[in-house]
Symmetry: C2
Subunit: 311 residues, 2 copies
């Protein structure tokens, strides 16, 4: 009756949503790498604002062939690890199975769609403040809503599709708010309005969202970056509603001090998601005739930081 | 016969030029603060690309009233210390004496000119790679030329004046190249073409000029900042010759790894010269209708770094 999920990437995103689905009754299989032994022995632990819980026993797998064919493969990897997906996805997907891509940035679906055996891609934006704090251990700080849209190769709005509705139905018992998007790309651009300033500046200035917001002198930089993203989104055909920047600023002011994912990646020595979060938007903006000089400078400065690390 | 100099600020600039003047026969008095005891006992030591030398005995003073009236008061302080000058300059200057201001940035002369007793201000740009490495001890890495111009309150070119020629004559026996500028402000803007990118980026990215130049991805940021300065200079009435940016880039490529003064200040916990190097140029550009978005973002990011230091 319930559909079968595979979770690829058991960090904050995959761990949290996978555990919530399993707790709500779904059959969930976790494809694990470094954390396999720990998760197989101890399961998953979620420390959440909405209530802590432990799943002592989970379906843990080390290789795709240990997982039965799945209706939905939830990809919660960093985009920097997407090169492993051509090997993995065809082995996990049941015929007619759907890829649920929960990643930041732009442009990753185009590469996924070229993988043989990958058909429908439902792509999600997570409004989740959560960090993986240990193997199989996620600290969920706040929020958690997912916006879902279906990918179309031509970039046009796909509307609300049966695949999206089926996933929304699967999530319903979890209580996690799911919003169905007619225009996936437009939503991805809107998310970049937050991600481009806060991910980059937190790395560049070695700080958190609270301290970024507390310096009034920095506010025009944050807004300047946001305005570039809004203009680029409009130029690519996805107008952002008036007042959206004010809303993002107000939401961030109301948030507790938060380290964006790129800052955590940088501090942990992981690759930065520069390609999906900066390079693809810059490329798409440029193709649409929009310039993003502050965003481009920030991207190049982050590239310098990544390249010069450990030198 | 030889004229009498006072040196205010015995760092890399004041120490190097003062020692060169003294070695060439001028009467030089050093007004010292923290380094007084050391310099009084041991004199000055210059380790220079052009030959090391030591001046075992110098005229060292702790207070202005220990210095006889001087024909030229050379100010080699950081601009961030200029608030001490109203107290000091009137006591050091002989009647008709000249202030020789060797500082970076824009706008400092306007404040000096308001100090009672300050008449003629000759303002210099130093093309000097040197660092103070200890009390009375300067490491001179390369270059050293000074461009001199006379300040006019209305910002217009003063031409080549007698005060400039007299200082050039004083420096002649030192072998230090002196260039006399008809347009002081134009030269200050030209110097900012280098200072604005390299001072700021070396602090922001915690690095030196060599590594900034070695990352091809960063080159458009460096050039973008330089182009903003060139455009602002032109807007304020000081056109920069074509090819000047290429020349600056080529010169920096040819330089050994160098830590710009602002990076040394940051690492040593000193105040940053943000006001003269960024804020005044931004203000003057804005008044002339020129925008400098990359420069402004860099300035604001540096302000954040300075404000959040030690937190």
């Amino acid at each position: 009756m319930s559909r079968r999920y595979a979770i690829v990437g058991c960090g904050a995103v995959g761990g949290y949503y996978g555990a919530c689905l399993q707790r709500a009754g779904a059959e969930v299989h976790y494809l694990l790498h470094r954390d396999y032994d720990h998760v197989r022995a101890h399961g998953l632990r979620i420390d959440s604002k909405f209530g802590n819980f432990v799943l002592p026993r989970v379906h843990a797998a080390q290789r795709p062939d240990q997982v039965p064919p799945c209706d939905v493969v939830l990809v919660g990897l960093k985009t920097t690890a997407n090169h492993v997906l051509p090997e993995i996805l065809p082995r996990l997907l049941a015929p007619g199975g759907v890829v649920l891509l929960l990643q930041n940035g732009l442009g990753e679906e185009d590469a996924l769609a070229r993988i043989p055996g990958v058909g429908t891609i439902v792509s999600g934006l997570c409004f989740l403040c959560a960090n993986k704090v240990g193997p199989g251990h996620v600290l969920h700080l706040d929020y958690g809503a997912i916006m879902l849209g279906e990918y179309r190769a031509d970039g046009r709005p796909a509307g609300v599709t049966p695949a999206m509705q089926a996933i929304a139905a699967d999530f319903k018992p979890t209580g996690i708010p799911i919003e169905l998007l007619e225009d996936l790309l437009g939503a991805r651009w809107k998310k970049l309005v937050w991600n481009i300033p806060f991910n980059g500046l937190s790395v560049l200035l070695n700080t958190d969202t609270r301290r970024l917001m507390d310096d009034p002198g920095l506010r025009p930089v944050i807004r300047g970056l946001m305005e570039e993203v809004v203009a680029a989104s409009a130029a690519t055909g996805h107008a952002v509603p008036a007042g959206f920047i004010d809303k993002m600023v107000a939401q961030t002011e109301a948030m507790a001090a938060y380290l964006p994912s790129m800052k955590l990646d940088y501090d942990a020595g992981r690759l930065l998601e520069l390609s999906s979060m900066y390079e693809a938007p810059l490329r798409q903006a440029s193709a649409a005739g929009a310039t993003m000089p502050l965003t481009e400078a920030l991207w190049r400065e982050l590239g310098f930081m990544e390249n010069s690390k450990g030198r």
